[in-house]
Amino acid sequence: MTTVGSRPRPSRAAPAFVAGYVTLLVAFGIVPTAYAIYFAFTDNEGAFAGLANFAVAAADFRFLPAIGHVALYLVCWLAALVVLVVALALLLHRLGASGAGRTLRLLYYLPGALAGAAGVMVWLFVLDPVVSPVGFLLRALGYETFGQVIAPGNLPVLFAAIAFWTGAGGWIVVLYGALNTISTEVLEAARIDGAGAWQTAWRTQIPLLRKWIVYMVILAFAGGTQLFVEPQLLSQASVGVAGRDYSPNQLSYDFAFQNDNVNTAAAISVELLVVGLVVAAVFVVRSGFFDAD
């Protein structure tokens, strides 16, 4: 017999915790987004402007190159993220709780602990063959000067490397945690069926990680389209060689503060938001992200 009155009452602390999150989400997420959408569809007098601001952005000579730059960067960054993060997480899981495993977990996480701008500053030294601790590698690749290293053709790979270095550690730890949730019985069954390390990873662990990988790709894609700090700092360090309008986000910044055109800047921001949402939706639907296991 079930007693109706025995049903546990929800804790009163729960709404308090959620309220804090919701307040911050509204203050720093929803309100600024709504403000940007308002700007994107109005002119500098506050009158409705339709798609005029979007048209101004699309017609600007810097717009298409900026889109192309970020598209190339995303290909490099997402490919590196998916392949290397999964591989390193599997390696970490294989090492388990050994001393090496614990040390590696710390090492993977450390670069992410550096603030974004500080991480890029470290790379400005790493990429200069004259002062870099890996200068011998750069020289072996034929690069003698900082200017040669930051040639425009190299930038997507360099930005992907910087982003990987600063951002991948956290994801490795997340996927390592996800691997720990896979039941030992499943892995044991795979072993009894004759699967080696490679087959266990490929046929058992990676499929079970699928949703985590999709989650990582969605967030990394959205973050990648917002590329700003890396090219902005590199542009400063290279005195403009990297270009101050390399990415759409930089272009938006330039529209706001160089051209004094906040409305077109907001239109670019809204476009980035829409692209991030659409891609997230496609990934979620195609991967069955919200399907019950």
Binding site: R62, T145, G147, P152, S238, G240, F257
Partner: protein, 444 residues
Amino acid sequence: MIRSKARPPRTITLLAVAAALAATACSGTTNAGDTKDGFTQAPQSDGPLTVWVDSTRLPAAQLYQKQHPAVKMDIVTYDGDANGSNYLQTKVSLFNRTGNGWPDVVFSSQNNEATWAVTAKFAAPLNKGLIPQSLLDGWANNANQPCTVDGVVHCLRNDLSQTVLWYNAALMTQWGYTVPTTWEQYEALGKKVATEHPGYLVGAAGDTFTPEIYLWASKCGANHITGPKAVAVNTTSPACTRMASLLDRLVAAKTMSTSSVFSSDFDKNEADKILMMPGPSWYGGSLFQGTFKTPKGQVGIAPMPHWADDPSPSAGNVGGGTWLLSAHSAHLKAATDFLTWVTTSDDYQGKLAVGYPAYAPAAKTWLAAQAASGYYANDITAPLQAAAGQVWPDWGYGQFSQEAIWAATVTPGLTAGKTIVSMLPAWQKAIADYARSDGYQVTE
């Protein structure tokens, strides 16, 4: 209860009137909306004078504070808009939205600040009453041209950065060379050095201000600002192509570096291989004495070379900062006093400043101090004074950054082995594109 219909008690009304009168009395001599000295002035008050400077100009503000202990100052260090960071413009744009936060006086290392600061209503007009014309007449010819919009001076030039030819006098004597006076002689000597002393340099073309050193001095019309929002751009005229060709030939001969003089690789590999180096007046203190630690008595200055068929020698210009006074300042008297002192004072401009002062009387003191230091191999006074009057006036300061455009358009190609001549059309297109995006009428 609806309180709005209740009449306010008489005491509260009286207090409100008294408070309003007191606020008016405390606001000083000028009321909100008063137009004086050519602009609408903010109510004046007694708060601290907020001054923004870069690290190089920090000693100026500190010295003023030391000499004027009664003035309350809030000295803020920022990047000085170095490398065209646009920090000041970004902040002013935000301050304009929030309605407060503007510094009273600000130094910028960029000469094109007036182009946006006037439109943004940030820069106060200076020759409409704040600073007497008799004082403004003390600036070198055309020195305040970058600050002048429609005949109104909106900032004061800190220093001039006229270009000259720096050379290693000891090596010149040792190798029996003569300092060139024409670009033809300069190129011939560059090629001779390539043969007789390989590895030595006669210049560097890897910096963002390469066009301002070489193409400006060659009277290349790449950046002729013809009106507040109009520019004429022609990078493929003979004046441009013959200088670009000269640079290309010397790069090919390996006597013209394609590295930046401020890069680590130049410092390590090439800094001690300079025979000659066209560059601005601040190269002496900042580059040779400061960065390269070139020993005393080696470096000399000669006038910039000129084309043999051009009877009127010309120089380029690389920088030279400006000081702006905020039109929103609530401390105009103190701000004007500081601005006047920092741009004209012998104690700072004449004795401490690193660059050639734009204010002519201070420049005399500065030159005398430089000569007395004994660092230079010859008397630098005459070449620098001559160059100060030879800066070609048809290269202007637009809102778009010439340095950034050159850096993004030409420098990567130069690094990859392309010739400058082959990139001149792309450079022109980039200047025109950026100028149009800033609202300029472009004539090509």
